[in-house]
């Protein structure tokens, strides 16, 4: 039976349990003079039964999801003849994928070694068996749960607190999902990175000047290792981000100042949402714009002035990224600028300061922590931005600080290394996770510091 069908079945059983529990409590209450005699409303009794019916079986289903495949795979592999067993882990994956593909019918059986076909058939039968036994088990468990829940119903049974307790725990788990997600990110990138650092030393990765991961798969050639020096990527990322911030910070900040301090109501109601539009445009659109409009434009402009601007220049990618970040900075800056109390402005204006003097000498210094926090968040966003650079920046890792040249970034390399069908455990794919680890750590520090600054700033004026 398909898993989705099992789920539907379980939900149906749960609904049935609700109905039964509610009916039973009503039947108990009626002779005693109505539901006022019950400790909890009938619907709570119903929910209580439904929860008994669902929760154990759902936990079981979850466990099956996690472990069933692993158990089956181990059984299949151990059933293979020793001759077919590959020596190393890469070959192991190859054989296993083959069996898997035969079992699911992607590869035709003809022409495959007999042992593999047998293994595939064994796998198929195991899967069928596991699915059917799961269905039976789940049904039994939920029916038992249903019966148990039914039995517990009495007039005095405190169904409401019991149900609420379960609900509170579920809410708690939902809230903790954020922690699980962070943990998942850390574990997934850390685990693969450690594997990567076994083959490429951490020092070579962080301080190496040469990045050419393509050579790593040709293990027969010289120089197959030691080409994972990430410095050119870090420099490229910083260069593109610097260009972006160079555009976004002044424009974003000045728009925020103008909108918050000068603009009349009409200008604000029009210009603010119009600028926000920039924030709602997907990054892939910016990437397209950068690659097909801005980059050729800049190249032609450059050649008019006798400048050689690469068609994948950091300037084009960074410039468009800057445009993308303008609304981000302007809305954050707008928040912190309007949070500066009016009394500060009054104090300065009453001294005879002009409005711009007030803004430059009082409002901005007062809002500075918040603005710095906002800019740090924007930097973190620029560093982690992917699609614009994938589409408009280069692939080749040049170590340069010239924005007219082509550079590549951390995110570009992650995408290049991981798209397409690669063996998962090759140093190439693992390198992507090591880059991901770097990216995550840098943005994590930026975010936490920035969020802390902004929070402290808000508290100051609350």
């Amino acid at each position: 039976m398909q898993v989705t069908n099992i789920l539907f079945l379980l939900v149906g059983l749960g609904a049935f349990g609700y109905y039964l529990g509610r009916g039973r409590s009503l039947a108990m209450a009626n002779p005693l003079g109505g539901i006022r005699r019950l400790h909890s409303l009938p619907s709570y009794h119903g929910m209580h039964v439904a929860l008994w019916c669902l929760i154990p079986s759902l936990i079981l289903l979850g466990l099956w999801f996690i472990f069933a495949d692993a158990v089956i795979n181990n059984l299949v592999i151990s059933s293979l003849e020793p001759a077919l067993l590959p020596p190393d882990s890469a070959g192991y994956n190859l054989v296993f994928n083959k069996i898997n593909n035969i079992a699911s019918g992607v590869i035709k059986e003809q022409g495959q070694p007999l042992g593999l076909i047998e293994a595939a058939q064994y796998m198929d039968s195991l899967r069928t068996m596991s699915r059917w036994s799961l269905t039976l088990l789940l049904l039994t468990v939920s029916l038992f749960g249903l019966a148990w829940g039914q039995r517990k119903i009495t007039v005095d049974f405190r169904a409401r607190p019991a149900v609420e307790k379960v609900m509170q725990n579920m809410l708690f788990v939902c809230a903790c999902l954020a922690i699980f997600t962070t943990l998942g990110i850390v574990l997934s990138v850390l685990f693969e990175s450690i594997q990567f650092f076994r083959s490429v030393p951490l020092y070579d990765f962080v301080f190496g000047l040469d990045w050419s991961p393509q050579t790593a798969i040709r293990e027969d050639q010289v120089g197959s290792s030691g080409s994972f020096g990430a410095i050119p990527l870090f420099v490229g990322t910083l260069l593109v981000s610097a260009v972006a911030m160079f555009i976004a910070v002044p424009i974003g900040l000045m728009s925020a100042i103008y909108l918050a301090e000068y603009a009349g109501k009409n200008v604000r109601t029009f210009a603010k949402p119009a600028l926000e539009v920039l924030a709602g445009i997907p990054t892939v659109v910016y990437g397209f714009f950068a690659a097909l409009t801005v980059a050729p434009f800049l190249r032609n402009l450059g050649s008019d002035f006798g400048l050689a601007i690469s068609s994948e220049s950091a300037l084009a990618a960074g410039g468009v990224m800057g445009i993308m970040i303008i609304p981000f900075i302007s809305s954050l800056a707008d928040d912190v600028i309007t949070a500066v109390p009016q009394s500060m402005r009054d104090g300065s204006l009453a001294m005879g300061a002009t409005q711009s003097e007030t803004i430059r000498r009082v409002v901005i210094p007062a809002a500075l922590p918040g603005i710095v926090g906002g800019i740090m968040l924007a930097v973190s966003r620029a560093i982690g931005e992917t699609m614009i650079v994938v589409m408009a920046a280069g692939m080749a890792a040049n170590l340069t600080a010239n924005p007219l040249e082509s550079v590549t970034t951390v995110t570009v390399q992650i995408v290049t290394l991981l798209t397409g069908d690669q063996e998962f455990d090759s140093p190439k794919t693992l390198a992507a996770f090591a880059l991901g680890l770097m990216l995550f750590m840098v943005t994590l520090v930026l975010n936490i510091v920035a969020l802390h600054i902004v929070k402290k700033y808000r508290e100051q004026y609350e």
């Binding site: 009016q342 009054d346 009453a350 210094p365």
Partner: protein
């Protein structure tokens, strides 16, 4: 002093006296054509206001105020909350410009110069008419920078030495110097409430204004700090013209030479302070100072 103003002021005074004579007992209700009782005018005036109306969008906040503020006097403005006294004070250095939809009609003049003339620069005006606010609002800078702020923006100091001198003098005048001279470069926000308010006063007098407006300067302070500020106002009145809005009648009685009583946007009575608190002319004034409403 402006000639035209002088004449209108004379005629107004006459009418008010006539009115006063014809109806010695004013009612508690305000009629439309009310006239300020007492002595709103002065021969040695620093600021003159004639027929001042203030509107917020469509709502009128101040009705036809006529008043003179004399040189080097302390004038207190009292009245129940929402009576428009703070609004009126803010029109005197055009701080009401920062409020959207605020409109002023009539004339407000300082030394005969109309404050609402189109070519007048508010920057200059506000340098001449300083202001201290209800809540102490030091800038998030050091004590030194707070006091030096005005001198810096207006370019009043030619050298660091000049600036140091201005800061020290202003802090001394605000009787704050002894308390802060050891920590001039610590943030002004770290001072106590009363010290912050004196810092704001020091900041205001650092540019040597002619008039200082004070908008309930002690309402956020404890009694001891209040006493210090009141003492300070007394001293400052030797050099500056001061208009102070206050919630506390005792304060008005302690610090001011003249007192103006506002009620629902109208200026009811202006008289020497002792008279207002001992023998008010208008029934509304009497009702207010005897605590029948507040």
């Amino acid at each position: 002093m402006n000639k035209v103003d002088q004449s209108t002021h004379k005629s107004k005074e006459n009418t008010s006296e006539q009115k006063l004579n014809s109806s010695p007992k004013q009612s508690l209700d305000l009629d439309k054509n009310h006239v300020t009782v007492g002595k709103p005018f002065s021969d040695d005036s620093k600021m003159t206001m004639r027929n001042v109306d203030v509107f917020y969008a469509d709502k009128q906040a101040i009705y036809d105020v006529n008043l003179d503020i004399a040189k080097n006097e302390v004038i207190a403005m009292i009245g129940p909350s929402g009576c428009g006294k703070s609004t009126f004070l803010r029109t005197l250095n055009r701080m009401n410009d920062t409020v959207d939809g605020c409109r002023v009609s009539g004339t407000i003049a300082m030394d005969g110069e109309n404050l609402y003339a189109p070519k007048l620069d508010v920057v200059e005006l506000r340098a001449r008419v300083g202001m201290v606010f209800q809540k102490p609002n030091p800038f998030p800078k050091s004590i030194y920078e707070n006091v030096a702020y005005g001198a810096k923006i207006h370019g009043l100091a030619d050298s660091r030495v000049d600036l140091d001198e201005i800061v020290e003098n202003s802090l001394r005048k605000a009787s704050l110097w002894e308390e802060v001279k050891e920590r001039l470069h610590q943030p002004g926000t770290g001072l106590s409430g009363g010290q912050q308010q004196r810092l704001c006063i020091a900041r205001a007098i650092a540019v040597s204004p002619e008039v200082i407006l004070m908008d309930e300067p002690c309402s956020a302070l404890d009694p001891i700090a209040t006493a210090k500020i009141e003492e300070l106002i007394e001293e400052l009145s030797q050099n500056f013209t001061i208009a102070i809005v206050t919630h506390s009648m005792q304060q008005a009685a302690r610090v001011s030479h003249r007192t103006a009583y506002f009620h629902l946007g109208k200026l009811i009575e202006v008289n020497p302070t002792e008279q207002v608190f001992t023998l008010p002319e208008h029934q509304l004034t009497e009702a207010y100072i005897t605590g029948r409403f507040g």
